[in-house]
Symmetry: C3
Subunit: 141 residues, 3 copies
């Protein structure tokens, strides 16, 4: 049984962004695991992590458009000290979630052909975002 | 400590479907575990996994109706190559999520009385859906 | 490797509520773990667990307001035997989810500065809610 934990820091402009390659580059330990789980945890309340299509950039733009319409900035929130993107970002973060658990099989993430890891930045100026990666599993023989 | 991992394949028509029995039938290993976690991971971006009411079929129909209204097919998506159900399916998949972690206690899934595992098929013709089941935990004495 | 599992019972009025302190008070075992995961699982289909802002109560009120607007009580649901808050509660539960996985590092939950654990009660009279806490990880030297 292996446990491995580290923090990675990413910064993206507002929108939905593919981060699979950066996550993998930071986690070479996955190669040692025959069966296990990679857990990603975003330490913030105004951004989120999700899994979705890894090919067409238009999927990521449509996601941004959908969530801006579904969680409008002009909805008279009580919590508005940091501007109109503040409270919608909190709501989107709870809808999409801030953690992912992905199986590891035979030294690789067991993602589907079309699945990619997304960092979803809901603030106009979100700055650095910390992600705790926890890898657990059985060691390869 | 036990780790167990397998793939199961399910196919359902569009809508929300109870799959608890099929998941359990494929995972007899749970019986050996005194305390642990069963992790389910759907390898797709246009369907999802969720937990909800296991009794009334009308709950599953109302969920389908709600998500069709909240994520409409006629919203002028950029990503529409595969038809009007394509992009809404991606959005629903990110809202509902594609993985579940359920505790195992005393050789059984520790679901609440009314909780069932759902496969939510968001495409009109989704075809086969692969689910990776990872079971981890302490072995019963 | 440590596995620890227990049930905690909480009761809250309708709305979004911070429960971080109560969860921690019930899980002193976290202190023994150098790297691991705390998994929380709500055994219900009309409430949910989420992570969001731990400071301003107005964030929690705005979340309640948003989800009441996004999942209206007067939407002609088939499933309405238990009143107008019944089916919306099921929908909110699937959107927000009923489980959380939070990393443990150096004997502490690795939450971000502003992150708190929420119990989201979607029924008018939800009563007691059972949460299974599963703690797993490597023991401190």
């Amino acid at each position: 049984m292996i446990w491995y934990q580290k923090e990675i820091i990413l910064s993206r402009r507002r929108g939905f962004h593919l981060i699979t390659d950066e996550v993998l580059r930071n986690c070479p330990e996955i190669k040692k695991i025959s069966a296990g789980i990679m857990h990603l945890f975003l330490k913030h309340t105004s951004a989120s992590l999700s899994l979705n299509e890894n090919a067409s950039p238009d999927v990521r733009r449509d996601l941004e458009t959908h969530f801006n319409r579904a969680v409008p900035e002009n909805a008279s929130y009580e919590h508005d000290l940091e501007g109109p993107d503040d409270m919608p970002a909190h709501i989107k973060s709870s809808i999409l979630g801030t953690s992912l658990s992905i199986p590891i099989s035979g030294g690789k993430l067991s993602l589907g052909t079309w699945q990619g890891i997304y960092l979803c930045e809901h603030r106009n100026y979100g700055g650095n975002r910390k992600i705790i990666v926890t890898v657990m599993g059985m060691e390869e023989d």
